[in-house]
Amino acid sequence: MSISATFGKAKAEGRSVLVGCMPAGFPTVDDSIASMVAMAEAGCDVIEVELPYSDPVMDGPVIQKASDIALANGVRTRDTLRIIEAVAGAGATVVLMTYWNPIERYGVDAFARDLAAAGATGMITPDLIPDEAGEWIAAADRYGIDRTFLVSPSSTDDRLAMTVANCRGFVYATALMGVTGARTSVSSQAPELVARVRAVDPEMPVGVGLGVGTGAQAAEVAAFADGVIVGSALIRCVLEAPDLATGHQRLRALSAELAEGVRSGAPS
């Protein structure tokens, strides 16, 4: 399903979309496919596959650690594409989250082509701002990939409008000033940021990420956002489990809890 269709469907059901993130190849290629399929089966509407990168400056310790493990186990860019193909093939809506250098290295046009062929519907770029994204925007349009840029509480009104105008599918609102990682409370800056995006473009779905880790927090965010993005808390299920079977059990349980959360929050 496309990103817009996924958000449209959730909206029709009176709820928010649950986006679950997992690094490709963590801890191995096959295990990460199993994790992602489990997440989708247990209620994640969108699987955000993170391409592991050696220098992930937007990410906190959990995603860094998982990415390092994946890289140490030899995951390659082409493996990430293979993972996307498998997960999309299992019926999930898949978007890729990636730092920019691996894409530039692969070749921007070739990557957009292969990403589309693998079945991903969108790509999130945490360190690529629209100002530097001319080549990416053209390639994404050529192959029908939705492009998601980030907005932040520190974005000026001009930048926010410019960024939203360059997004397709959905906008990623970073709920707080900081890196990824589950927090004990949801940022108070998040509702305001979402409202600012809505003021610019009422039709553009807004996903909120950074800090969500429980069903209750998911419900809280679902009350004002179209999408709830969860990464570190899900990854930790696998990272901290004694074995993979336990990890997948925890992953399913948390996904289900979060899925319930996005359904109990009253969407705006």
Partner: protein, 413 residues
Amino acid sequence: MTAEALPDLAGHFGRYGGRFVPEALVRALDELDAAYREAKNDPVFQDRFHGLLRDYAGTPSLLYRAERLSEALGAEILLKREDLNHTGAHKVRNVLGQALLAKRMGKPRVIAETGAGQHGVASATAAALLDLECVVYMGETDTERQALNVARMRMLGATVVPVTNGSRTLKDALNEALRDWVASVDTTHYLLGTAAGPHPFPEIVRDFVGGIGTEAREQCLTQLGRLPDAIAACVGGGSNAIGIFHAFVPDQQVRLYGFEAGGDGVETGRHAASITGGSAGVLHGARTYVLQDEDGQTVESHSISAGLDYPGVGPEHAWLHDTGRAAYEPVTDDEAMAAFQLLCRTEGIIPAIESAHALAGAARIAPRLAAELGRTPTIVVNLSGRGDKDVHTAGAYFGILDQVETIVPGENS
């Protein structure tokens, strides 16, 4: 566009530079850019900056004609004595400028990344002087290699945070500083230590250290009555090199040479030569040359010199390389250490191992230039820092540490 006018307003040097950063940092970068442009045109700021450079840092640094070294190398060698600056390197120029900017922006806290600890010590120094809180990120591996500099930073009142992720070296310290900054931009200035990173850092750092080149150019004209034939500098992130190059860029007859850390040799893969042994990519906020694998993952760098041990380089160097205005060559650990020893023995100056790369490069180009010019060439070498911090590394390299190593703390009273 002429070289002097770069970067453009968005921070591009040709296809290099720019901003590859999380949106969360863009506002801080824009504010920094605006504050810098105001400060640049504010005589009060400039007086304060130049006053500190003169009265506190001890600049202009001398341009010293090294007679015995000149004889040994078959070239007239002039050393730009940045090693005599307060804190022992060119880096003090950058930190004083940026710390004054932080003050001007009303930010009470500065953060910095450091490899060898030189930039960390310089930052802690400027922070103490200007009453700023200072946090320095340093790879855990480096805190072990450079324990004395960790102690120096702490004496100066800074907090040193050992970084335990990734390769635990400079690049990871930089990642961690960026992560801190994403969460603290309201109160914090990121005092970046080299002419790299997202716009406007490469330009700001270049301008703050640019006195090296303007001084050297004037000193050449006064002391020699002419410009030199070549400039030689080591290139890590590229600040001392761009600092001495910039004033000479319009002088087409002056050849500019940047010497990268060749480690065990570029062909071995164990080096830090981003331009000569890397490829174009994006790292730490800018498009530039980086050491990367086929997938664009950053490859770990290697150098005997902690200050050059970085897998990227400032974007202006990438551009100077591509346009051919400057030439970049790798210098191996062994070549650098031979030049290190030569300077010690001919001039009684212990250089930083970083700077020894520039000396080794000068030794290499001397006969080449002599043949080309048909006379003794004049080469200005940027002696970017002194070797106090490197006594342990150099002592181990030359195998002269045996007595020292047997001293157990507490037993030598």
